[in-house]
């Protein structure tokens, strides 16, 4: 394990951060928001990231679902002609909380019905032409995308926005676990310092 630090040298003591093993911390931070920071001993930030990001993602799942439809209907994996779910690329930034969508999509691709009352399951396609017959049969009990929009109204988009923002913010947290904070004060101090004189190269002997 290597113990990397950031903002060393002239930085005040509170700005010195021990990053331990940055790649491992970044991986942990992606898997569970805040876990990488807890591993590095940055407890307050770890708790802040965990509470803020998981609650935002969970609230998005709550908005984008109902007891009848199943929760978390706004987080799903689909790549077909009638529904290319690009939002999932942002949502997966939250790590493990978005992984059930991959499990549900792989189950459907194998011709098995989604589990957990449709939690993060893809919607039923409008026609058989967009997916294989096995996948279409597996999704026969699921609502279509139109039905989701009709029943959830604006909350479908709100839930999508919440979960996307949570995923994107966690990417910032992953970067923080990898490289440490930016410290704008330090950057300003460096900017305010007068430029150092360039070393004069020795004269060439002719």
């Amino acid at each position: 394990m290597t113990a990397n630090t950031t903002s060393q040298g002239a930085a005040p003591p509170e700005e010195r951060v021990v990053l331990k093993d940055p790649p491992l911390a970044a991986l942990l931070a992606w898997l569970v928001p805040g876990l990488g920071h807890l591993y590095q001993g940055r407890i307050a930030k770890g708790i802040l990231f965990f509470v803020c990001l998981t609650s935002t993602f969970a609230y998005g799942c709550y908005l984008g679902g109902s007891r009848e439809l199943g929760w978390g209907r706004v987080v799903y994996v689909a790549w077909r002609d009638d529904d290319r779910r690009l939002a999932y690329l942002c949502q997966v930034g939250i790590g493990l909380p978005a992984v059930p969508a991959i499990v549900q999509a792989s189950l459907v691709n194998k011709g098995k019905a989604p589990r957990w009352n449709g939690f993060m399951a893809p919607p039923r396609p409008e026609g058989f032409a967009n997916v294989g017959e096995a996948a279409a049969n597996a999704l026969s009990n699921q609502p279509t995308l139109d039905e989701l929009h009709f029943q959830l109204r604006g909350y479908f988009d709100l839930g999508t926005a919440y979960t996307m923002i949570a995923g994107l913010l966690n990417i910032l947290a992953v970067y923080d676990a990898w490289g440490g904070p930016v410290f704008p004060e330090s950057a300003k101090k460096e900017d305010d310092e007068p430029p150092r004189e360039k070393p004069v190269p020795p004269e060439k002997n002719q």
Binding site: R42, C52, L53, T56, I165, L169, L172, P181, F183
Partner: protein
Amino acid sequence: MDRLLIASLATNPLWHALPLIVVVSLVYAATRHEDTGFILAHAFRIGAWIVGFMLSVFAVLSLISWIV
């Protein structure tokens, strides 16, 4: 009329922006600092900036709708 106005304000989906502003401000500020005091101060500044930006967009749109 007042009750209608209050009811429409209470159920306005714009309220959903409030927790998002808090979370975005806190997380962004936390990636810029390590000290909790700096984080909170920076988060407050970012939050105020976002709210100010939204209000200015609201003012511009209101002006346009009033003119047109």
